[in-house]
Symmetry: C2
Subunit: 433 residues, 2 copies
């Protein structure tokens, strides 16, 4: 195992240089990085092809191979993400607030880059470009630690980005990849080095499954932003528009069941069960029974099970158990629980939820306000699908993940998550009495 | 050792209740807490007297006893701090930013309380009131873990605050003290319980000496805000007004040498040595030789030592060694180093400083701008004493400490440090395409 010390040192120096660059210079370098990815498209796709081939030979599941795969459209979407990051305002040098003390001392709170970041992520190679470009725009240097499965793809992408940053007059050393050239050997002990790099790394972002995040949270001696599980809920309040409710629940569950912002438990007011459950069951059964869809599974409490009646073809119903309320299924499964009030729904969510994305469907102003105010989560929705919780959708161009913690940064992590402030204080000889 | 679990549970419930209170209700409860401290003044002073007596009997040093001591003026200053906290705007429910997505989804980033905080602090009993009242205004519950030395003082203060919060119609359970009544036994193992209370405590703030902070940072499994060491610098640039420079250096060093924002190393441009050092040496010698002042010690590099010449009475000069550049003396000692340029001064500061408070004295706009931009510290001053870095001075009424980390919060920790955001999202049936 190589030591990452020289990499940390080089990243620190690159960050210090990058922190002094103005927006025009950073955007020019990022545009050149995008151009380099575009120009090296075939090379990147070929490298990815080798990763995919090796993964398939090892028997990796289709869903995971799909996460690893790059194609022309996905490269286009990486480039669009970089364009959006370029269009964002510079997050650095923003005066957040300012005031003058009675003695005339003038204080400004201004944004500055956080420093050196590290991201530890699983197979999706687009994270390589997203994270590198967000960090660059925020004046941060970044160490990328992707999975071994995607190593060739990540190498090709990182090499393109670095050559682009150099060609655009930027700071290529602000981006480093574990396993690129002489920089490191990509070995497993590197994760531990990152997690204990006090003074070397200012924040580490684990992005991937529960186990990875837990391992990082347990072992890190440096600040972590946990991008965690999503046990998301939709609560259907009696005044909800039930036609829209069926559309929203279908979307939140089925548009991408493996996403962290997909709904996992549906909470239904008991007065709404009879009208909602039969058409909802029919819709879920229909949408998953056609084509290659797996049969859909509801895990119901007694009242909601009774409201569905005889399950339509394509749908199975099981009795919900306690563990279902806490589960992140990431699958064609939805737990359903009956509640008697908005307060009861909120209490269930605050007890079992993971503080990610929570929605109420209602036309009652008081219920909407109460839900917004009392649900403790990064994103609280009224009358919309939970699937919108995403840095791209929010307009950030890309994201470093979605934070479910409260400390430092919450929700989709864009440029702002990589900034901190400093007080810029200007006096004329003041001394303290 | 008692388990703190019931305390964590009670604090969480109190926080949830408090998070829903409006500003008027919180301010009313805080005013009642201040009134209760005022009414129980004699009781609090008597309890403090017992702490002081016990500490003196154990041979505690005068300087430490002074930190422990309460008197009428100090109680007044606690009450003034609470008044200032009451006058602060509510940090909760502030819309930080907001925008509308192309599909009409309306997003607002609003501030919410961080949750349950814990503060672990050394002897000063005013921290008990400062921390409790700041947390309360920010909608956070707080667990106070003061030193055993100040236990009776802290009990009396906390009991007064809690009875005041109750009398003012507030949420007294939002404040708990390790060692108060049945709440806990105040034993040492409680610190470890706090540091590992994932899900129970949302942030822990160590406030005290280097060892305490290091112990917390090393052992915490929950977010920490380190309130650290201050190795602060003043750089005297050739264009500085040298009369003001002598006043500012004297103030930054001697107004309170034991404070973390006191200057520890003076950096002087070589062209300024001859004009600055003799009057500065005279001033430092004069101010400390009179009364009970200890003799002042300069630790100089060769050039600055030569510039002082024969030391005046009341001043000793030693040759600086490498360790002096990294030292936080907290004493009547100042290290002095000669530099050749603003860049060299900035490099020295970024290498040896602790990112606390740094100052340049100059009349040159370019030097001031460069120093502001390139020095990496919570507070960067032009033409003022470093002693102003303080929550009270900044106008926060009180402080939880001064953060030297970049993550989450930096500089003096007031109400804002105890907040986070949530996205409040309002739709009309939007689903993701």
């Amino acid at each position: 195992m190589n030591s990452l010390e020289p990499v940390f040192t080089s990243l620190r120096a690159a960050h210090e240089k990058l922190a002094q660059e103005n927006r025009a210079a950073k955007d020019r370098a990022l545009a050149a990085a995008a151009a380099a990815i575009d120009a090296r498209r075939l090379e990147i796709l070929a490298a990815n092809g080798r990763d995919v081939e090796r993964a398939a030979a090892k028997g990796m599941k289709d869903a995971l191979i799909d996460r690893l795969l790059l194609d022309g459209a996905r490269i286009d979407s990486i480039l669009e993400g970089i364009e959006t990051v370029i269009r964002q305002e510079d997050p650095i040098g923003v005066v957040r607030s300012g005031w003058t003390l009675p003695n005339g001392l003038f204080l400004e709170q201004i944004t500055v880059p956080l420093g050196v970041a590290a991201i530890i992520y699983e197979s999706r190679p687009n994270v390589t470009a997203d994270a590198a470009c967000l960090a660059y725009k925020a004046g941060c240097a970044i160490l990328l630690r992707g999975s071994q499965t995607a190593l060739e793809s990540n190498r090709a992408l990182t090499a393109a980005i670095k050559s682009g940053l150099a060609a655009g007059g930027g700071v290529p050393d602000a981006v480093a990849l574990c396993g690129l050239d002489g920089e490191s050997d990509g070995g497993h002990g590197e994760v531990d080095q990152i997690l204990t790099a006090r003074g070397g790394v200012d924040v580490v972002l684990p992005r991937g499954g529960k186990e990875l995040i837990r391992r990082v949270a347990d072992n890190a001696r440096i600040p972590v932003i946990e991008t965690g599980e999503g046990n998301c809920h939709i609560y259907v309040e009696p005044s909800a528009d039930l036609e829209k409710a069926v559309d929203i629940i279908e979307n939140a569950k089925l548009q991408k069941p493996g996403a962290c912002n997909a709904v996992e438990t549906l909470l239904v007011h008991r007065d709404t069960l009879a009208a909602l459950m039969p058409p909802l069951a029919a819709r879920l059964a229909a949408r998953t029974a056609d084509g290659k869809g797996a049969p859909f599974e509801l895990r119901c409490d007694g009242l909601s099970k009774a409201a569905v009646g005889a399950p339509p073809a394509g749908l199975t119903i099981k009795d919900a158990v306690e563990a279902d309320w806490a589960a992140e299924f990431l699958d064609y499964i939805l737990a359903v629980k009956t509640v008697g009030s908005t307060v009861e729904a909120i209490e269930h969510i605050n007890r079992y939820g993971t503080r990610h994305s929570e929605a109420i469907l209602t036309s009652d102003l008081r219920a909407a306000e109460e839900f917004h105010r009392k649900v403790d989560a990064a994103c609280v929705y009224v009358n919309a699908s939970t699937r919108f919780t995403d840095g791209g959708v929010f307009g950030f161009g890309a994201e470093l993940g979605i934070s479910t913690q409260k400390f430092h940064s919450r929700g989709p992590l864009g440029l702002e998550a990589l900034t901190t402030i400093k007080y810029r204080i200007t006096g004329s000889g003041q001394i303290r009495e």
